[in-house]
Amino acid sequence: MENKIVTEGLNAYFGDVHAVKGVDLAIPANSITAIIGPSGCGKSTLIRCMNRMHEVVKDARVEGRVVIDGEDIYAPGSDAVEIRRKVGMVFQKPNPFPTMSIYDNVVAGLRLNGERDWKRLDAAVERSLKLAALWEEVKGQLDASGVSISGGQQQRLCIARALAVEPEVLLLDEPCSALDPIATAKIEDLLFDLKNNFTIVIVTHNMQQAARISDFTAFMYLGELVEFGITKDLFENPKEELTEKYITGRFG
């Protein structure tokens, strides 16, 4: 299987804090890769390095390479804005834009980048909301505010918003941690459908979730990548003692 994202000797810092330590990881295309590990182990920081969102934080810096489709996204001259269009991101807490309608939220990425053609915008709204399995629920209220719907719907709206710019990779940072089991199940189903066309990397606290939906799993501990492999193997036959301890709930 072809690798979509490859990190080589990736180090990430917040000021003096060394959050990600020398991670080498190869994420295959058109699959779901879960990143698990205890709080503060650098999971979120790792995926934020994959669309150059890490550098948005004050005093944050990155060393090493992140290669997407053969191109180092940290090479001089590469454009963070271009990369973020190719690598979409969904955050832990649903963050639809409160001053925009549902319609405007979905096409925010397109409109804010200058798309004016209403036919294309209309098509993108319908396509993205259908992909995010939200169309049937909101098609009658597209003019309502983006924050007027439930938390689970808001999160799917954020997924639709990320999909509308037609990325190739979707990074999800604990997307279900603020949601109830029903909303979580909907999002998991959705990710399962999406993996045919996208490469998905999901950070999760929930090991059952990782086992349920992912093809590959990476286990991180204290900023280091401890183990990476096919999900089934990692959960059933972990190679590292630390991984075994974590997945059997003996720490973390």
């Binding site: 948005v56 973020r84 001053t99 925009m100 405007d104 804010l112 980048n113 990320a162």
Partner: protein, 294 residues
Amino acid sequence: MRSHKLRKRVDMAASLLAVGCVLVALIPLVSILVEVIRNGAPMLSWEFITDRTTSGVGNAILGSLQIVMYAAFIGLPVGILTGIYISEFGNNRMGSTIRFFNDVMANFPSIVVGLLVYAMLIVYLGMTYSIIVASVALSIIMIPIVANTTEESLKMVPNSLREGALALGVPRWRTVLKVVLSNGRSGVITGALLAVARVAGETAPLILTTMFSYFWTVSPNEPSAALPTLIFNYAMGYSSLTVDEAMRHAWGAALVLIMLVLSLNVSVRLLSMRRFKKNHKGARRWRTRLSLKA
């Protein structure tokens, strides 16, 4: 039981104290309003508002409006952009330096600002006492106020919205313009309004920069009357009117000034409410399309 009673009494006493303090704070506000309306209302008439000085305050109203308008033209863009810079891009040495000087500037006495503008533009550059010179002075007073309120209201916009937009591949400046500003807009507008209202009543800088005029002024390069300077002149007795007449004119002008500031507030608020509804253009368009299909 006793402690319960005691607690209730302490609670009652604290509430009474708080209500009492509110009342004390309200006394000057209410008495100013009552006094201005009581003394000013009898003066209000069409002639008083439209005639020029000594029989009315028309030219002072026109002068004030022009001075404040030009001041807003200069002060609001500079102030708002400064606020945006220190809130969104000021996470560095430069930002904290600007923030520091902005705070210092906000506490400058207005007479000092007036003196500075007088010295620079009138004495040094040889400009005449005029509306535009006064506007420069007022805009210097406005800038730090507007910058501060803009910074405060943009800081209130949750960071998750900035990240949400950036992660969609929206450039930084567009994120600030379309997402951050649109979410902090009401605060920015309120701040701008407060600054305009504040400078509309400034007197000291005007005395040093526009002098006074008994005639209509339409050119920004000529001396002009303004409501605060008119009130000052009349209250001090610098006029051809009798002391009694001058005082009545001063009260009338004070009422007009208060009403102007108030109507400015209300109209800008109404305007910003209407702009919010316009925000959902895309959705509206969609609705029309659906109804056409049906």
